[in-house]
Symmetry: C2
């Protein structure tokens, strides 16, 4: 990039910023598109149009459709993890978080557009060979990170037998509650289930 090298330094940064902003717009549009239209209705063109970006620019950032949607789910999952930690700013170093509130916040991870988008991607990956390796790797990575945050915020002592599996089961339950919310608003039932299992978990972890 000899031409760019001759530009004054302060002019180069805005260009990087613009590129980052374009990338972010594409990722957010891709997740929204997956959540609303499913995998079959989600193409690079549809996302580029939604993001107000040319198809060429979209392909510059993400060479394949698989790259775009896997990166999108990964990006939003990271944003959600950051937001989850921010809900309990002092925990666990300055004191334990309220466990019922942590359980409710963990379950919330699985009931919004991100879970809906991820679900479409997982289900598509189960039948599409070219999507499968990336999504399998992504699912494992997001799963490990969510487990790590859950253990930390719940102040769960995984050196005690059964504690690791208790937390894993809780996240499996959260995933199942997300699925139960796919076709109908399951909020009222979910709240009762979460209250009850938060109480059972409190006993199991103490």
């Amino acid at each position: 990039m000899p031409k760019q090298d001759r530009l004054p330094k302060q002019d180069r940064f805005p260009k990087q910023d613009r590129s980052r902003a374009t990338r972010r717009r594409l990722l957010e549009a891709a997740v929204a598109c997956l959540a609303e239209h499913g995998w079959a209705g989600s193409t690079v063109s549809v996302v580029a149009e939604r993001a107000g970006v040319s198809r060429g620019a979209a392909q510059h950032h993400f060479p394949t459709r698989e790259d775009l949607f896997t990166a999108a789910v990964a990006y939003v999952a990271e944003e959600r993890s950051t937001a989850l930690r921010a809900l309990f700013p002092g925990a666990p170093t300055e004191g334990p978080a309220d466990r019922s509130a942590v359980v409710a916040a963990l379950v919330d991870l699985y009931t919004g557009p991100l879970f809906r988008a991820a679900l479409h991607l997982w289900v598509a990956a189960s039948n599409e060979e070219q999507l499968r390796p990336q999504v399998t790797e992504l699912e494992a990575r997001v799963g490990r990170e969510t487990h790590r945050i859950a253990v930390e915020l719940l102040s769960a002592d995984e050196s005690r037998p059964g504690v690791r599996e208790t937390v894993q089961g809780l996240l499996d339950m959260a995933r199942g509650l997300g699925l139960a919310n796919l076709l109908t608003d399951d909020g009222a039932r979910r709240e009762r289930v979460v209250t009850q299992w938060a109480a059972l978990l409190e006993e199991a972890l103490d």
Copy 2:
């Protein structure tokens, strides 16, 4: 059907039997097809060919694609419910079933081809208006029936506060475990989680 009315009675039954057998072959082929190829790859023609039935005969039994696949998931879900009850023949009237075994059997409902097929149908219904009402009704019906069997086999006393939600959360966890098994064989981890949650449940229900 004046012509059929003139046939001797014993000849009419085999015809009904053949029709029932055709119907069953179509339903089983439809579930296998959904599980393997997803909703996009599952058409009436593909299922008819797999079942060795003409497309016309398939449409005689199931006028629309939505009818065929919704009926298929309903049929296999009923078969699975019957099989689940048969695993614990005396329970609960002649004595309670072993709760750990019941939990394991309930979780098994969500890890085979039926769950995979149902998942494809649910996810497709979340984006396709003409599929949604039938699948929403089906999901509610299968959910109620599974809950009823679980309560019965676990000898859960739902008049006690929290017991209903404990069982619901268990089934949500089972659904989440099914989802975790979609892309990779999650059997080893699942077994440990199921053992731990069965123990938590035992304490909660006693």
